[in-house]
Each structure stands twice: as structure tokens, then as C-alpha cells.
């Protein structure tokens, strides 16, 4: 079984009961369930790291620490269904510590960092490698460029929302430390700005 075989209820995110079941199975010794859990929730953890704008190496370390910690707590987490929120919250707190840490340079607003894929490729290379049809590739470039132009708050929220599968608002709340109730309105506003940017670029 892989995570992607699970029923995906769009908007409300993935079937959280299944996450709970995978987690329980992993806790009971099922390595395949653990792998499925990692594959299913890694994009969420990664998006939390990226949303905090850490330098590349720092981001990699936080991602790893977050998963190492979950493995450690595998038999101690009392609410298996909330494992996505647990990961998001753990990643957020590690990100904040890295940002505060004296040994680090200041967290960067350098667009180069957010602009670079996690594996060091430029967005342009990544799009070329994806072998999307030219029209679609161009749309992806434009949407990504417009996203980068948004203010920090919008970039941060949207970077988490664009995790795959779509995170629940509870997970988004844990990822960013904002109230569940404020996510919808901010999302709406940020997407409206994104659309305006795209309209300026003549992209529909």
C-alpha cells in the first residue's frame, strides 16, 4: 500500500484516518507503513522548512531532525491522526530555533534561496527536466515567478498550502503558528494578489 492509493478528498486534504492507520502500523513494526507515511507527509515537512526561508543546509538539517524525532516518538504519540500537525509543529519550532541560533547567519530574505530547488537546480532547469509541454512549462514558470514576487507573509502561507497532498488547516496552523480561522481569509487575499500579478504578466 502506498500513501497515494489512499482516498484523497480534495480541499479537506487526505483522509486523515489513513494517516492514523499508517502511523499505528508503523508503530507496530510495519516498515512499509513508515515509508508510506514518510512519502505522504514529507512534502508538508519540506514546505514548512521552505516557508521559513532557511539556508539550504539548515533546511536539510531541520527536515532530518523532524523525521528523526518522529521515529523516536513513534510509540509515544497519543493522537495518531494528528501526526501531520505534530510534524508541522516540530519542523516549525526547529526552524525558529535555527533562525535564533547565534551560530547561523541571519535568516535570509535572499530570493536566490527560495528560488533554488532543494537539489540545487535552478527553476529553469527543473522545468526543462520535467518535460512538460511548452505551454504548460511556460505557465509553471510564470506562476512560480509571480509567487516569488509576493510579500513574505503570502509566500510563507502559500508555500505551506501548496504541499502535496493539500494540508489540512490544522496542519497549516501548526506549521505557521497562526489561528485556523485566519487561514481562509489570508489565503483568499494572497491568491487574489497572485492572480493580479499573473494578470500583469498576461497569464491566465
Amino acid at each position: 500500500m502506498t500513501y497515494y492509493d489512499l482516498p484523497d478528498t480534495k480541499g479537506g486534504a487526505v483522509d486523515r484516518d489513513s494517516v492514523g492507520r499508517l502511523f499505528q502500523a508503523a508503530a507496530d513494526g510495519d516498515a512499509a507503513a513508515w515509508k508510506a507515511l514518510v512519502e505522504g507527509l514529507s512534502p508538508l515537512v519540506w514546505s514548512v522548512v521552505r516557508a521559513h526561508g532557511l539556508a539550504e543546509a539548515d533546511g536539510h538539517e531541520v527536515y532530518q531532525t523532524t523525521w528523526f524525532r518522529l521515529a523516536q516518538h513513534l510509540r509515544r504519540i497519543r493522537e495518531p491522526d494528528g501526526v501531520g500537525s505534530w510534524l508541522a509543529s516540530t519542523a516549525r519550532h526547529e526552524c525558529l530555533k535555527v533562525i535564533r541560533s547565534a551560530r547561523r547567519l541571519s535568516p535570509t530574505d535572499d530570493p536566490e534561496i527560495l528560488d533554488r530547488a532543494g537539489d540545487g537546480r535552478t527553476p529553469e532547469q527543473a522545468v526543462i527536466d520535467s518535460e512538460e509541454a511548452e505551454a504548460e512549462a511556460e505557465r509553471i514558470r510564470q506562476v512560480w515567478a509571480a509567487f516569488q514576487e509576493l510579500g513574505e507573509n503570502c509566500r510563507r502561507l502559500l508555500r505551506v498550502l501548496m504541499a502535496s497532498p493539500p494540508p489540512s488547516y490544522r496542519e497549516v496552523s501548526a506549521a505557521l503558528g497562526i489561528a485556523v480561522g485566519s487561514i481562509g481569509p489570508i489565503r483568499q487575499r494572497c491568491l487574489r494578489r497572485l492572480r493580479a500579478r499573473l494578470a500583469e504578466r498576461g497569464v491566465r
Binding site: K10, G11, A26, A27, K35, V38, E39, S42, P43, W46, S47, R50, D58, H60, E61, V62, Y63, Q64, T65, W67, F68, R69, L70, A71, Q72, H73, R75, R76, K97, V98, R100, S101, A102, R103, A117, G118, D119, A126, V127, S130, E132, R139, I140, V143, W144, F147, L158, R159, M162, A163, S164, P166, R187, L191, R192, L194, R195, A196, A199, R204
Partner: protein, 153 residues
Amino acid sequence: MNGGETPGGGRAGDDAIEDVLRHAAGIIDPVPAHLLQAAVEAYALASIEAELAELVFDSLTQSAPVRGTDRPRLLTFRGNGLTLDLEITAGRLVGQLLPPQPAEIELLGGRSPAAALTADAAGRFVCDRVAAGPFSLHCRAGGAVITTEWLTV
């Protein structure tokens, strides 16, 4: 820009453009493959037979950020009747095990192989090379074995 809905707006439009972003992120900024692999392999950590020592104090959550200074990171872990006080400054770790007693300690990092340390009769131990990154200590003292919660140093 006025506050009205632009064409293609509304709830369906919001979902559609978020999906395009999701697709773009999957291509432009995916989870690096080697990180995914490291997380899959972390399952081995779940089977370590040791009491978890929880992080009960971290100077980074207490102090205001001060940039450019090399202030020590102070950490306290507690579990199974043992306390570990750690002080990390510029890659150097000074530790104190309480109650004071000799112990075998392994320093686990994300990348490097484990380093073996020894706590003296007073429970003190030192490591001069602590690499930045994920960090955990595995400590065997008397009959007790504890492992500290992972964190990033």
C-alpha cells in the same frame, strides 16, 4: 487593484490556482531525494531500546536572539532518573551527567558516524568536534540507558 473579484476568482478559481502552485512546487522545489531516503531510514531509530530523555530546557527558546555573538547553547535532557546538562559552544560540547557517575556516551549526528565519549566519575564529558546538524546522545550509565530527543545544533 480593487477589492472585487478578478475573472477566474472565487472559490473554484482559488482552488485551481493553488493546484497550479502545487504542481509547480512539485517540479521546481520537490523534497530532495536523499532527504526522503534519510527519513525512510530513520525508522531504525524507532527500535532503539532506550528510555527517551526529553528536552526540558533549551537556551534558544529563552533568550532574545543576539546576532554575531557566540553564546553557548544550553540544553537539559531528563529521563529515566538521569539528567544531562549540555553546553555547546562553537562545535565544542561540555556535558554533565546527574547524578554524577561514569557513563558510556555515544554522540549521534545526521551525517557522521557515532562518536564514542566517556563520562568520568564526576559525570563530566567533553567532545571537541560537534558537527552542526541533527544531534542526539545515547547514554549508558549503570543499568540505565537513555537517548536524547533529536534536535538541530
